[in-house]
Amino acid sequence: MTMMTIVQAINQALESEMEKDERIILLGEDIGKNGGVFRVTDRLFEKFGERRVVDTPIAESAIIGAAVGMAARGLRPIAEIQFMGFVFEAMDQLVAQAARLRFRSGGTQTAPMVIRVPYGGGIRAPELHSDSLESVFAHSPGLKIVMPSSPYDAKGLLIAAMRDPDPVLFLEPMKLYRAFQEEVPEEEYTVEIGKANKLREGEDLTIITWGPPVYTVKAVAEKWWTEKGVSIEIIDLRTVAPLDIETIIASVEKTEHVIIVHEAVKTGGIGAEIAAVISEKALYSLAAPILRVAGYDTPYPTAMVEEEWLPNEKRINAAITAVLEE
């Protein structure tokens, strides 16, 4: 075990899989000599050379489209989109090509590849650098969407993604990249895609969340326990497609109160999907309406107001009070 940040854990996952599997090629902007703008691919260029760690021209559609072609012909491309706001340039190749190749070839062609994308706010970045767009992709059958919130999960999930037979969108929370360290095994291991993590046991209320807000939610839950004796169960989804419905429903049936916290804008978000699933499968277990604490329905705002815009402690506390008072 070694103490690692998310950046280090991802770097190690890439390195160990690349050592074992020559089919893996990394493609992206500034990922080579520069080691990525967040240094996630640091030292990999030196170690594996420019045939396997490729600094591409600035062309997202080409990066993803070429990866589809490579994957279909036996390679295992890991493509990076530098910031999530730039993913739209590659939209066709991602949702209409990568996601559908298996279906549109009647199962005879596939595109096993990973698309790594830093996302999320709270780092005072310029416009179009901080968006959370998971729900845009969750609406595209054929893609898996993985969103780790800790170094341990990041490494295990990325290795699982690299070994997955389908295209996996691997979203990395920028705010948490270096926010803390945790014990991570040096050796390789996988964390199952599609399985949520029950981060905290509780009886009174379930909070379902993923990505950067996980840490805010943990802090809030701790305070409600120590200050008011309210026990909050936290589910870190880890994967938003596919959703771990079983874990969600079991928790709702136990606590009867649900809040969903996500950074992406509220309308049409994954939170809406989860609320719908709960109402289909466990409506009569609920003792109060399901509340969502999410980004407001606005473009991601400028630095001066982003902390207030994000699902912060104050907003989550207000939701907890409202749900428990029902």
Binding site: A59, D297, A322
Partner: protein, 353 residues
């Protein structure tokens, strides 16, 4: 016949050499015009140096410096008319300043003010973050000018790296097909973050890319403000006659890509000092001094004057009321949707989220 790279002999237009000596006789710029351009360059330089410092002190946010590219920006912007439209990327601070953007607005933008997004200069599109997207907006703008029989051109800016995006190629293609009044300016500053020009494209020059789309291309010494101005002037004339032009301005980004970037990771100090000697401000200053219209004393005065203006702009930006959360609900639709109205009320302090 095979068409090969080597058949193309592309020369770089230059009017003033590194020592400040004129290489051409047809410089149709008055002394006053030359001085105005130099003043614009100094203003941009002083703003840029200050912005870098303020970012390091944590007083403004991420900033993308333009140092080294003042001639390419000021020369091209100075040649545009009041009716012409500019479509900038994040690095065209010099162009914005030349087109009359108040400097306090530029500071407010980097400070993360919502109000900093509002454009306060004539005919300048909002700063573009997505590489290449503005090239297509410029095509549409030029199309509108043509359709409405306006006497104006669209001027689109991009970097060398941006020429790899599909949007760049689609824009040039449309411009050629529809014979649009547009000038495409590429500031080839040698680097796209950490990727050098030769890893960005296998073509020898950017200028030659115009040929594939049936439009005219030209390569200019981008550190020569006179060459930039003269070329731009002609390009605008051509564009107005329905002949779109692609200008490659060969220049160099002297600083980091942005304040979040560390160029020592990917480039050698040699390259920086080599280009440092070709500094665009030094060249025009030498030329002006040579012709007798400029001296050290006036120069110092100009720098001081600009420093004072920049200080005033920053003070003004700082004294602006900070943005409030409630402001984010404005400017999304002409009229707020019911959802936004509800969320705004919640944000302003209701109990339920």
């Amino acid at each position: 016949m095979w068409i090969e790279q080597n058949q193309l002999d592309i020369k770089t237009i230059k009017y003033i050499d590194e020592k400040g000596k004129a290489l051409q006789t047809d410089i149709s710029l008055s002394e006053q015009q030359l001085l105005e351009m130099y003043k614009g360059m100094v203003k941009a330089r002083v703003f840029d140096v200050r912005a870098m410092k303020l970012q390091r002190q944590g007083r403004i946010g991420t900033y993308a410096p333009l140092q080294g590219q003042e001639a390419a920006q000021i020369g091209s912007a100075y040649a545009t008319g009041e009716k012409d439209w500019i479509y900038p990327s994040y690095r065209e601070i010099g162009v914005s300043i030349m087109k009359g953007m108040p400097m306090e607005r530029l500071f407010m933008y980097t400070m993360g003010h919502l109000e900093g997004l509002a454009q306060h200069a004539a005919n300048v599109f909002p700063v573009q973050i997505i590489i290449g997207a503005q090239y297509l907006h410029a095509v549409g703008g030029a199309w509108a000018s043509q359709y409405q029989k306006e006497d104006s051109v669209a001027v689109a800016y991009i970097g060398d790296g941006g020429t790899s995006e599909g949007d760049f190629h689609e824009a040039l293609n449309f411009a050629g097909v529809y014979k649009l009044p547009i000038v495409f300016v590429v500031q080839n500053n040698q680097w796209a973050i950490s990727v050098p020009f030769e890893k960005q494209t296998a073509s020898k020059t950017i200028a030659q890319k115009a040929l594939a789309y049936g439009i005219t291309g030209v390569r200019v010494d981008g550190n020569d403000v006179v060459a930039m101005y003269m070329t731009m002037k002609q390009a605008i004339e051509k564009a107005k006659a329905g002949e779109p032009v692609l200008i490659e301005a060969v220049t160099f980004r002297q600083g980091p890509h942005t304040t979040a970037d560390d160029p020592t990771k990917y480039r050698l100090p040699d390259e920086e000092s080599e280009w440092g000697e070709k500094d665009p401000l030094v060249r025009i200053k030498k030329y002006l001094t040579e012709s007798g219209s400029w001296n050290e004393e006036k120069d110092q005065q100009l720098f001081d004057e600009m420093a004072e203006l920049v200080t005033q702009a920053f003070t003004k930006a700082q004294s602006e009321e900070p943005s409030q959360l409630t402001d984010v609900f404005e400017h999304i639709y002409k009229e707020k949707t019911p959802q936004l109205v509800e969320q705004q009320v919640q944000a302003e302090g209701e109990k339920r989220p």
